[in-house]
Symmetry: D2
Subunit: 340 residues, 4 copies
């Protein structure tokens, strides 16, 4: 049985398991105060060209989004997001759970424009009742987005400018960041992100780690305390488990190399889909491919290949998603293509 259901179906890159085994009986200090976290942080700072960044290691994405947004926002404040932003749709209200509003603004295929952000904020402050309204205080984007789309360097630069002119920290959810950075022709680097964005996270769970996300506070005015992490129930006792994973991923460019595999496999699939005349739902250059399939085709494939039914397209067709990962093999893609 093939599986393209999601990009977090496998464990970790073998080098990570190897290092976890090697240090298994060492005695490590807890809570991220170990040398592996320290080393990983140095490597991430270097990769981001951001020597002063605070880097914090957390276990999962919803936890990270909730913690970061709670660290930035106060009561009566809200975060701007595209309608399909993960915090708005698939985190069971975790942001609201900590007391903050998630404010949808206009978006297309999970992307907002700088203009729409500016427009929302400017209209807000022009409204005579704005003291009664939730203050927009930060902006959430995911990159790649939930539709596999990417913000180009010019788009990201424009959004960054609009946010900073209005004193809104810009936060990037990078659950799949590697699968964007490794996309052929993508003009944004990790250093660009650290320069344009205030806080972002480098996703590990979906990109080669057993689990874990590395949160980078590139803006030196923003950070989290150990106490806040603990308060959120997000402080891993054995923090070195996260440190050693990210240290491995950021040694010898491993993170980028394994990300590239996922993207390449996805683009082979995309080409095959186009060659066979399938209609793509959107143009993704990352590891998620959205395609319109006849419902009969879906029914025929499902017993042999796992993938996600995304949404109804029309009465006889559905949008489905195929997700590759760092671990996807040529054979798996070949088999899938043969099935289509």
């Amino acid at each position: 049985m093939l599986h393209f259901d999601s990009d977090y179906m496998e464990g970790a890159h073998p080098l990570i398991l190897k290092r976890l085994s090697e240090i298994n009986f060492d005695k490590n200090e807890g809570y991220g105060l170990d040398p592996y976290c320290e080393s990983a942080t140095e490597k991430i700072r270097k990769a981001c060209n951001c020597p002063e960044a605070q880097v914090v290691y957390l276990v999962g994405g919803t936890q990270t989004n909730a913690l970061v947004s709670d660290a930035i926002m106060h009561r009566g404040e809200g975060v701007l997001t595209p309608r399909t932003g993960h915090i708005n749709t698939h985190e069971a209200g975790a942001i609201e759970g900590w007391g903050h509003k998630v404010i949808e603004i206009r978006s297309e295929l999970s992307k907002m424009t700088a203009e729409d952000i500016a427009d929302y904020v400017d209209k807000f402050f022009a409204d005579g009742s704005y003291e009664h309204m939730v203050l927009p205080t930060m902006v959430y984007i995911s990159n790649p987005t939930e539709y596999g789309t990417l913000y180009s360097l010019s788009e990201l630069t424009a959004i960054s400018k609009v946010c900073h002119e209005r004193h809104l920290p810009l936060y990037m959810d990078g659950a799949r960041l590697g699968y964007g950075l490794a996309s052929p022709g993508y003009d944004v680097t990790l250093a660009d992100i650290a320069r344009l964005v205030d806080v972002f996270y480098i996703g590990g769970t979906k990109v080669g780690a057993l689990f874990g996300e590395a949160v980078v506070f590139a803006n030196p005015n923003l950070n989290v305390t150990l106490r806040l992490v603990k308060h959120h129930g997000a402080l891993l006792a054995k923090g070195w488990l996260l440190g050693v994973q990210f240290d491995t991923l950021f040694t010898d460019d491993l993170y980028m190399r394994i990300s590239a595999n996922a993207v390449n496999q996805a683009l082979r699939l995309k080409q095959a889909l186009l060659d066979k005349g399938y209609e793509l739902f959107c143009d993704s250059m990352t590891n998620q491919q959205f395609v319109v399939l006849e419902n009969s085709k879906v029914k025929e494939m499902l017993p042999r290949a796992g993938f996600k039914l995304w949404e109804k397209f029309d009465e006889t067709r559905s949008v489905v998603r195929f997700a590759t990962s760092w671990a996807t093999t040529d054979e798996q893609i070949n088999e899938l293509i043969a099935m289509l």
Copy 2:
């Protein structure tokens, strides 16, 4: 200077002040455990034809909306609302402050349809990821709405049916309820509301009381405890101040009689606006009238008449709101008409 800025610019109906004076030196038990609250509750139950309703007296609207929704919802749950619903726009995130999501659904002039509610909920449960999403667990409507519009008996009946089939309590924000019920030709009564809606409040602050809202839990499965009211900081020590006000408003039909004045004055203004060829922004049969004015006209009038700039209409015109109240006089409306 004339004032049509809002419907809560005056104090209370004189009968209320009189009764407050009369009992001023009596010794009353606190927290709503007094005979005035008891008497008011009996009268409200009767007016609602709902002999078992729990009636709770609170001080203000945002407090009421936050308390009621927090009493109904658990963590990870959300309330459906029109985009312009007061809880979504003008309560500084109070609902989210208690941990719940406010979920906008399609609406027009602050009104949702039964179909759109059903559609949202049914699609929600058809989504394979729904356990990761905020559960829609109640529905918020205001009546009259923020645009002065009203839900007809058939509309309300349809919404009630859709909600109850899906086990969603239906909550009505009645900040201006009197100004709807007293609208000529409106086919909904207090008893209809108590029959169709699970919880609603009868607004006093805007309708003749010094302050206060009477929350009616018509659905016997829903209620609030004194402890929850206290937890919200919403328990008035001298609860009898609220009891005696609502007891007065529900004696000899006072609430309806003074509501009728506001509506009649507003409809006189509306007719005058139409006669003078003004464009109404929407067709309101209640105490709020929205009209499109030239910006030059706005500028000319503002030094002599207070009203609310609602929103930009186009480059040269604005939507403005005139609000009448139970205390608005013929003279005030005459003067305003003369100015238009």
Copy 3:
């Protein structure tokens, strides 16, 4: 039937009712942006000798305590309090409801010492695990306390010093502040409080107002925004109702004059209790008197006089509380004394 159950059983001082009537049909701007609030604020600033203080008018005590502490504290932070502090015992967890811990420290008859506060905080920072513990970030005292006791000038000065050396805002719950300030021989003035304390409130509900508390942010670095007040559901639409009450109370020293009556009546009662050989539970110089009564005496009196059963003293006796108010008359005290 006599009533000494509590100090909030009557309405308002007649001058307040009179002024509410006088302005009843004026058109006032909402949300505290009216001239009465402005005037009251000027008078309170003057009485406090604190010309820059932010003064905010709220409806009740729990609401005030929750809002002020939420304005000062962030996540993972806590407020030090005596065990019997109102926020710790009788507010249904309102402080915790907004996410903050209430930290009991050693106290006697509701009073903490400067030493105990210092000791707690210094031990906290000496603990190697303090980053995992709730950060003590403010100190709550009530004055008069829940046992009618008072902080002397030297005690308050010492607490203020200890707090400020440790950067802990000191907050005073002044629900019964008048009944302390008017106590014969009490050496603390409103100006002392504004000088020594960072935030406090001047209770109106129990001291002559229909309802309302005036919160004084004496420390210019602390304040609340209108948005936060709204977020807490604590923004009274008709804010002028509060302004006019406090304007009246701070005109011609009314607040102090009516407070003195309550204290004088209580001290007459106290003397009579001593004369008759009753055992006082504690030595209160304010409007609350705690006395040890035989249970048979309690049973005998209750049909004719309301008072509060405070706690069991021993198998045959109880501690009871008699509370006087600004409205208590000579006759009422005479009758009570005759009954004892």
Copy 4:
């Protein structure tokens, strides 16, 4: 350098690493819906003699305590705990962060008695103001406690009886549960716990797992939804990582066998301490040993052995804690004894 700082300094039992490697490239369904979680659950149910228990796998202890208590409590409710309970001292206010009060009651060496619990609750309901007070709705105990002490079968039975008579769910924090169950002569089994306690967790992080805690809802009326877990940011995407760990720990009695090693090593140390004439701070039969050391001795040892300074004992002595783990070796204990 020796290390007895804590019991979570090593990675995982080698069998766990081996199984994680074996399934690394399998494609597993996320969120705990995998066969490893299913198998672990069956084994845990069997070990607990509780075939209907819901078993949920989480990452860490604070997360677990916050989630379980939030699942059980509503607003205005609180959890009874000993003063030194982990939720009260070392979780940065996580319980309060979700809106609930932590209520300290009398305790000795982290243990409460059934009598003290009953006394608190019965006095609560006898207080005329109890509707204004935080409702005690659950009881938290840790076992072993923070001082290494254990609740005996008769103590646990008495507490269980008192709680259930008063409808208070009893929750046991089992971060070190194995180190209690494996204590020689301890008369409580996993099945006893499942019978007497409503919810508890079997700690993995400190007992052989890389990370993870297995929460057992033994009371069929209590549970958590996947949505609530997600809302708390506590849903591990790759849930099978937890499943496979607990499946391994509950195969062939591994959990008990490795727990026994920690306890045996700790008891060897304890005997040596007694033989050498040291004063134990308390009598622990589990993996944590608390001993009173001269400060000079502490200073001498610290460069060669890590352990925890627990608290000041008197001017010249301190209480220190030595913690063993499943991975502690004979040699390590021998070396430590030689140093003492």
